[in-house]
């Protein structure tokens, strides 16, 4: 496969043609924050945390969806990007009801880690304090919409890896919610195989195992990529 040479943050990096800026950066050991991206799933560009500056483009581009090109000059950590990322994380916190102190995922949460990484000391926006339901009708799992960031990793894991597409997103904007089947309680979603891949994929405590108490959630999202890779090898 043809190689492409580009610079990321002033460093010369070589990448395969068709590879995304995010993959090229990670291969080179350059960290770009992400939330909706999960290795093993298709890219979606939903969270906008991986936005980068590319010389010659006025727009900020999502690193996960932008392919590398020859001679490309990428900046991943400018002041402008840092400010954008902090704002995005703050907006995620403002949009739902995230209470780390009593959350099952505390200490094992990508949103919490992001807040620390982007240096969020407080939220500058008014909290929306939406009334969000908790659905624990499934015999093994629960979904707490208070903690959902709409990254759609559960939707993609369910569709692309398990192949059943129990999960989807309904509604628009701040009213968007992940749903099971056509908006029925999870326990009544007949397509669900109870495989738990949505739990593996979830970056926060939104999807959890029933009975889990604070900071007790154990799951490794990397297992999604492992499942995908193992399956390809077998075929």
């Amino acid at each position: 496969m043809a190689a492409r040479t580009l610079t990321i943050d002033g460093r010369l990096v070589s990448a395969r043609a068709g590879e995304s800026i995010l993959e090229a950066a990670r291969d080179a050991g350059i960290h770009i924050p992400t939330l909706c991206y999960l290795e093993g799933l298709s890219e979606m560009g939903a969270c906008r945390l991986c936005l980068v500056e590319v010389t010659g483009s006025n727009r900020l581009l999502p690193a996960c969806l932008t392919p590398v090109s020859e001679g490309m000059e990428v900046h991943t950590a400018t002041e402008r990007l840092r400010e954008h990322r902090r704002a995005i994380v703050e907006l995620l916190f403002a949009e739902r009801n995230h209470v780390c102190a009593v959350c099952v995922a505390s200490g094992n949460c990508e949103l919490q880690n992001l807040a620390i990484r982007v240096g969020m000391t407080h939220v500058r926006y008014d909290y929306l304090n939406p009334v969000c339901a908790v659905d624990i009708s499934h015999p093994q799992f629960g979904i707490d919409h208070n903690r959902c960031v709409l990254c759609a990793r559960c939707v993609r894991a369910c569709d692309e890896v398990e192949g059943v597409h129990t999960w989807d997103i309904a509604g628009r904007g701040v009213n968007a919610r992940v749903i099971t089947d056509l908006g029925v309680p999870w326990g009544e979603a007949e397509s669900c195989t109870s495989c738990g891949k949505c739990l593996l994929a979830c970056p926060t405590g939104a999807i959890f195992r029933r009975g889990t108490s604070v900071a007790e959630l154990e799951r490794d999202p990397k297992r999604i990529a492992l499942i995908v890779a193992s399956r390809q090898e077998r075929w």
């Binding site: 009593v102 099952v104 629960g142 029933r210 889990t212 108490s213 900071a215």
Partner: protein
């Protein structure tokens, strides 16, 4: 002219409060009120949460007695699951509750009330605080702080952290006690015991000088409520409710905690966020009862450990026999409870059950209505939950020790004002005495103000004879 005297804020208690004293035309005390001015709202905002999150959520009610809420909540969860927790889990929970009682009582005796007790109620207010105590009595203050540390570290060794350890869960506990931690706890026992024995001796030596305070800091007849067990010894974790009057007559006995509503009613007043629980058969406000260290020691036949029992016999003798009615003796009772808790910890550490692997019973929702009750340092604590078929909370009622002492605290404030108010003028000494009287109960207001809509939302239509003609509640 009638006059109102206000103390705002009351200091060295856990939370925010103010006190009003009402004088009549003649300048005599007509009444006094202890207003709790802060509001928490847990009973409302926990609705809709899964019940298994409640130990961690309700732990956040308080930084001093989170363990009490964790245990009462986990016990309510046990009842929803309809499980009996594994023996090791129950004993480990008991161990943590004893540590909690020690650290909380040490905080009350040394940090909060210590300046009053050891420097004097009328001593220089600029010095009458923990730092003043450290300056005047460095050894005593250091040992007191170390005693609290002993309790806090035991909690940390069990739960992973000193404050808000989310360790007890519905069905049991999350992890056990390592041998190294057990040894470290045992190693700390002798120094802790020496401190409490020394402080008890010193307190008893001062008691005669405090005769006036003993007589006026809330000494009155009231009922007492606490948990008790089959053996009649001091109980702090499980058991059944007993209500006793100040002559020692047992009015209600062997009441299972889930039937608490048979004995406890809850009233609200529009001038305080703190509810006013009362003994239901006697009505409000005649059903005033006290909970906490003094109530527990009045209600138990014996403590059940040799050193604490010797002290309990002496305390009862000093108080004239029969149930102790002087609230000043809460301090005394706290010291005896610390001593007995240390003895019980020593006994528990040797229990081979603690080494068992099985720590958590597993089940799903089997009961939709459940009560968890344990003795918090300040008194009996109730968590009452109702859940839907999946386990989402539809009703939460928390009955907190401080609330149960509310009527008695108001009576105490009035009694102190009657005794020490002179010439309708406030002096520093009176203010401090009122605060000191309140501190005997070690109130925790952050713990105890949770209901939404309990205050001022009951409308009653009274007839000329005081009879209630109509009542509307929201």
């Amino acid at each position: 002219m009638s006059k109102t005297i206000v103390i705002d804020p009351v200091t060295r208690i856990e939370g925010h409060a103010k006190i009003s004293i009402y004088l009549d035309e003649a300048g005599e005390v007509a009444g006094a009120r202890f207003h709790v001015t802060e509001f928490r709202g847990f009973e409302r905002f926990c609705l809709g949460r899964p019940f298994w999150e409640m130990p961690a959520i309700t732990a956040r009610i308080c930084g001093i007695c989170p363990v009490s809420h964790i245990l009462a909540s986990a016990k309510a969860g046990d009842a929803i699951l309809s499980v009996r927790v594994p023996p090791a889990a129950e004993k480990l929970r008991r161990l943590m509750n004893l540590a909690q009682i020690i650290q909380s009582h040490a905080l009350s005796v040394f940090h909060l009330s210590g300046p009053d007790l050891f420097l004097g109620f009328e001593s220089d207010p600029a010095q009458r605080n923990l730092f003043g105590l450290i300056a005047a009595e460095p050894e005593l203050a250091r040992k007191g702080i170390e005693l609290r540390q002993f309790g806090q570290e035991l909690i940390e060794r069990l739960g992973g952290r000193k404050i808000h350890p989310a360790w007890a869960v519905p069905g049991g506990v999350r992890h056990g006690l390592e041998d190294a931690d057990r040894a470290a706890i045992a190693a700390g026992l002798p120094a802790a015991r020496a401190t409490v024995l020394e402080t008890l001796a010193r307190f008893k030596g001062m008691l005669d000088r405090f005769a006036d305070e003993v007589a006026s800091y809330g000494r009155f007849a009231s009922l007492f409520l606490a948990l008790t067990n089959e053996r009649g010894t001091w109980e702090h974790y499980d058991g059944q409710l007993r209500v006793m009057d100040s002559q020692g007559h047992i009015l209600s006995d062997r009441v299972p905690p889930e039937e608490y509503a048979e004995v406890i009613g809850e009233a609200a007043q529009d001038w305080s966020y703190l509810k006013f629980p009362y003994y239901r058969p006697y009505g409000f406000p005649e059903g005033m009862y006290r909970v906490g260290p003094l109530a527990r020691l009045n209600i138990c036949r014996s403590f059940g450990t040799p050193l604490a029992d010797a002290e309990l016999v002496e305390m009862r003798r000093r108080a004239g026999g029969g149930p102790v009615t002087a609230s000043f003796y809460y301090h005394y009772a706290r010291l005896i409870e610390i001593l007995g808790s240390l003895e019980l910890i020593e006994r528990l550490l040797d229990d081979p059950d603690l080494r068992a692997r099985r720590l958590r019973a597993e089940a799903d929702v089997n009961q939709l209505d459940a009560v968890g009750c344990s003795e918090a340092p300040r008194g009996a604590l109730f968590h009452h939950y109702r859940v839907d078929a999946y386990g989402l909370l539809t009703y939460v009622n928390l009955i907190i020790a401080t609330g149960q002492n509310n009527l008695a605290m108001n009576r105490t404030v009035t009694q102190i004002a009657e005794r020490y108010l002179r010439g309708g003028r406030l002096d520093e000494g009176l203010l401090n005495r009122i605060e000191g009287g309140i501190r005997a109960f070690d109130p925790c207001l952050s713990c105890s103000t949770h209901a939404v809509g309990m205050t001022a939302l009951t409308v009653r239509l009274h007839g000329p004879d005081g009879r209630i003609l109509d009542e509307v509640m929201r």
